[in-house]
Amino acid sequence: MSPASVLEKMTMMEGSKAFADAVKVCRPHVISAYPITPQTHIVEELSKIVANGELDTEYVRVESEHSAASVCLGASATGVRTFTATTSQGLLLMIEVLYNIAGMRLPIVLMCANRSVSAPLNIWNDHQDSISVRDAGWIQLYAEDIQEGIDMIPQAYLIAEHPEVRLPVMIGVDGFILTHTSEPVELLDQAMTDKFLPPYKPEIYLDVKKPMTLGAFADPDSYMEIRYSLHKAVEDSKKVIKEVAREFGKTFGRFGGDLIETYNIEGAETVVVAMGSIVSTLKELSDEMKSQGRKMGVVKVRCHRPFPDQEIYDALKDAQNVIVLEKAVSLGQGGILGTEIRSLFMEMEDPPRFSNFIIGLGGRDVPMNFLEMLVLEAEESPVPFKFVGLKEELLGGEK
């Protein structure tokens, strides 16, 4: 594909608008969402699309996020493709519905415009919202840029609806950073998407011709087996996630992503691991350091659940320094991604020197030179766990 022909297909678009367009071409039959900053542009754009007759769908304007997820649950159980989007407090409000959806094995796709959590209230980006439901049984993907967010949507449906998977998929896109900025993107062609993503046809759904009971309760005699099978389904979905990414690449002619992505890790002494849009900045830093003759690699965790333990281990095992950056924290314990990754090296005889930094909470900006400073700090002496860039004057001497 020539650069000219690629450019021809591209358009400058705000992330939210591009994501709404991607949802449109996936043809969900039911959309239900409750507005919350910074997800609002996505659902407003979808409303406009529906109002202009560009998408034949039932759009249910609910009174809360708990109901938005529940409407999708009911619709999905009736055998149709559904979509919802939320963030932060909205995601937290619908938590029990999210666990319910996964347990009922409904292939709902949810876009989370990653935002911090209250208290205190803060509308800016971090990963605390979606990472707090990592145990719910959802497949969780994190997009690095708008194009990746677009491309994840049809992949999410294909993964979710795959008969060997049948799990809901959450796509994290950094709030404001990816929802309210514009990038040159290639929108998904309707015909190509129809070829890639066939209509949803489940075997069991609410139907008066075949009156099944869904969501029966389970007592101690069977609950463990049912939970185990959910755990196994999430784990086994790794295979399908990779397959679908390959299929996407074949159909759309561009890389569809994988469980993780590695950048400049060959021979890198230091490898930095992160999720979401910060990876773009890290890649630029890596290139800049490369031009200075320094070897710093990047590992993007694109899929956080199921956790790609083998892939991450293989990418990091030869590094001397591993730095995990994360926009979330397990209060009172430490870094979430950091703890997960550090534990991979428990049995290794000579593991990499390990650092874990909490960055960018509540939308705190993380510029490239700041990241460079962290790399140098960690290379000099590993930092097991630290909130970085704190303003001493706000902490009155505590730290």
Partner: protein, 302 residues
Amino acid sequence: MTDNILASGHTACAGCGEALGMKLLTNVLGPNTIIANATGCSEIFTTLWPRTAWRVPWIHSLFENAPAVASGIEAALKAQGREKGIQIVAMGGDGAMADIGFGALSGMLERGHNILSICLDNEGYMNTGIQRSGLTPLYASTTTCPSGKDSKGNDTPKKDLPAIVAAHGTKYVATTTVAYPRDIEKKIKKAMEINGPKYIHILVPCPLGWGFDVSETIMLSRLAVQTGLFPIYEMENGKITSVMKIGKKVPVEEYLKLQKRFKHLFHGDCQCQLAAIQETADANIARFGLMAEAKKEPVPAV
């Protein structure tokens, strides 16, 4: 004899008013029904995996979202163009519909879905062990508002859920109870003919929670109506269009004394409390024109 939509073998208590209520109304609804059921007795005693008593498509999700789940079912059927001839039901107890799920109920009603909501009112959170709900009547003793040295039981009146539902502009709002199966049949059939939100509030006595002999369920249901404490009526487009008249009014004591949850009112000095309960009954009788001889103009519902 056609099979009951609610099959035998369910694990409701012997004499359960709720089981009877569901049997009666689902038999009228028939097989072209999809039920979204809230957590509670109705769900627990009908579906312990791998068994279910239901012969219609049925889904249970959570305690407070049956109306939202039902909304999603309707949206899906509409999107597929196959909603004709199917009655979607959002069903739950007083806990699910009046309290924890009230927001979802309100949203569903306001959006105008073609869904029948049913509140199985046994006046408490029975499945979790007889705790107070917003529909627990005045001075009833429950485990979270027990009578005691400093307490006469529940000190708040029963929330008027049918009126709140009607205030949403709900086309058809009706109350009924298990003692009157023909009334149930008439009202369900009427509801099924309406395209839009409709609501049926059914009083279902709970032998365990209310404290009466399991054989007396129908008797208690009848007495609740004959005292005036549970008025039976229909409200259409905001106006009362029918009431079930009381032939001979029964003093509230005749009803209360049969139930352990009111037995504290018959010890010591509870004249005030009994009078207050009688006042509630009398107010209903006046408001709805329940006495057979009363000639009353239909009153606005709210």
